[in-house]
């Protein structure tokens, strides 16, 4: 485990998570969630949990992003708060 890489990815995880909360555009939030999942997938694979990383990549970064985009497409793109 390279700690520099670990730290960089962890920082990006926090940045994407906070960004997903604060951004007004829901489509952007969906994309940020996808990026968050992908970074988590990288973290899992760094820690050696390859099966979990695989699941995170396919479910989290792949299909759930599509679901979010679909839901945004059918509802509204802007949040009230």
């Amino acid at each position: 485990m390279i700690w520099q890489l670990d730290l960089a990815i962890l920082t990006l995880v926090v940045v994407t998570a906070v960004g997903a909360i604060y951004i007004k555009d829901l489509l952007g939030t969906a994309i940020l969630f996808g990026a968050y999942s992908f970074l988590m997938c990288l973290l899992w694979s760094i820690m050696g949990a390859v099966d979990v990383a695989f699941t995170e990549a396919s479910v989290g970064a792949g299909v759930s992003t599509v679901f979010f985009v679909g839901a945004v497409f059918r509802t509204t793109r802007r949040t009230k708060d």
Binding site: A53, S58, V63, V66, F67, F73
Partner: protein, 276 residues
């Protein structure tokens, strides 16, 4: 209200971070999990189940109950999505758009008028703007068989490499979702209709639970695959490996059908006529 929420979040988060200080360090060999539980699986799983991937052995054999109910949770998610969103629409949308494929002209047909769906050079398009996307359609059509092949590989080689029913099922579902996105929802529904999808959804869970019940019927505990040896014509250790494979197939089918079902319901707002 917002400040109170922030305060609660900060307090809970601080408590969680404070609690992680008591955790054993990462990959600490003297932690309880590494002294009792993990060595048992690492040392015994290959001679008990003949599965090189310990994760798969734990997931589908030692912790078979957990995985069965995980599959049931996914099935329930699909059913909940269906119950919440699905609306039965007797007639289609008020106006339908057709594109003349030779000239690229779009015609709009209001309700009650005769639609030119019987003519070959007209294709039905969604009500929102659909650009001509020959490249996307062609690339997806070429790519989808490979995605599906990879998904089957992931399911079948879950014993030896990372992967298994969940991941493979999601990738299989994603291949159909890619079809629905690159073409339209109608062409993906032609290949996997709603009823087939519902059947597959339930069949996957049934395969899993049925494998367990079969073990029960043959006189062993629920999901104890060793007793299935006469059915597979092999020794009990190999039978456990094959039992895991059967279960993974069930998981794969259930997850695939559920992913497609959730996509269909969400992207068309339960109307099943025009998708993303």
């Amino acid at each position: 209200m917002k400040a109170a929420g922030l305060l609660i979040v900060i307090l809970t988060g601080g408590l969680l971070i404070y609690a992680t200080a008591d955790f054993p360090p990462w990959a600490y060999p003297q932690s309880p999990a590494s002294t009792h539980v993990s060595p048992r699986y690492i040392e015994k799983s290959i001679e008990e189940t003949a599965v090189p991937n310990v994760v798969t052995a734990v997931l589908a054999d030692y912790r078979g109950y957990d995985t069965m109910f995980e599959t049931t949770v996914i099935f329930a998610a699909g059913v909940a999505c269906f119950l919440l969103l699905r609306i039965r629409v007797e007639e289609g949308p008020e106006e339908q758009l057709f594109r003349h494929s030779l000239t690229g002209m779009t015609i709009r047909i209001k309700d009650g008028r005769k639609a030119p769906s019987d003519l070959e050079e007209f294709e039905r398009i969604d009500a929102h703007w659909v650009p001509q996307d020959l490249i996307i359609k062609t690339v997806c059509r070429i790519l989808i068989p490979f995605i599906q092949l990879f998904a089957l590989y992931v399911i079948a080689f879950g014993h030896h490499s990372p992967g298994g029913g969940f991941q493979g099922g999601v990738i299989l579902g994603a291949s159909v979702i890619v079809l629905a996105m690159s073409h339209d929802l109608r062409s993906s529904l032609q290949r996997m209709g709603e009823k087939v999808n519902a059947l597959l959804c339930a069949a996957g869970v049934l395969i899993y639970a049925g494998t367990g019940a079969l073990c029960l019927a043959m006189g062993e505990n629920f999901l104890d695959y060793g007793i299935l040896a006469p059915l597979f014509r092999c020794d009990p250790v190999m039978a456990r490996s094959n039992g895991i494979f059967m279960v993974e197939i069930g998981v794969g089918i259930a997850v695939m059908a559920t992913m497609i079902r959730i996509y269909n319901n969400v992207s068309s707002a339960g109307r099943y006529d025009e998708g993303l």
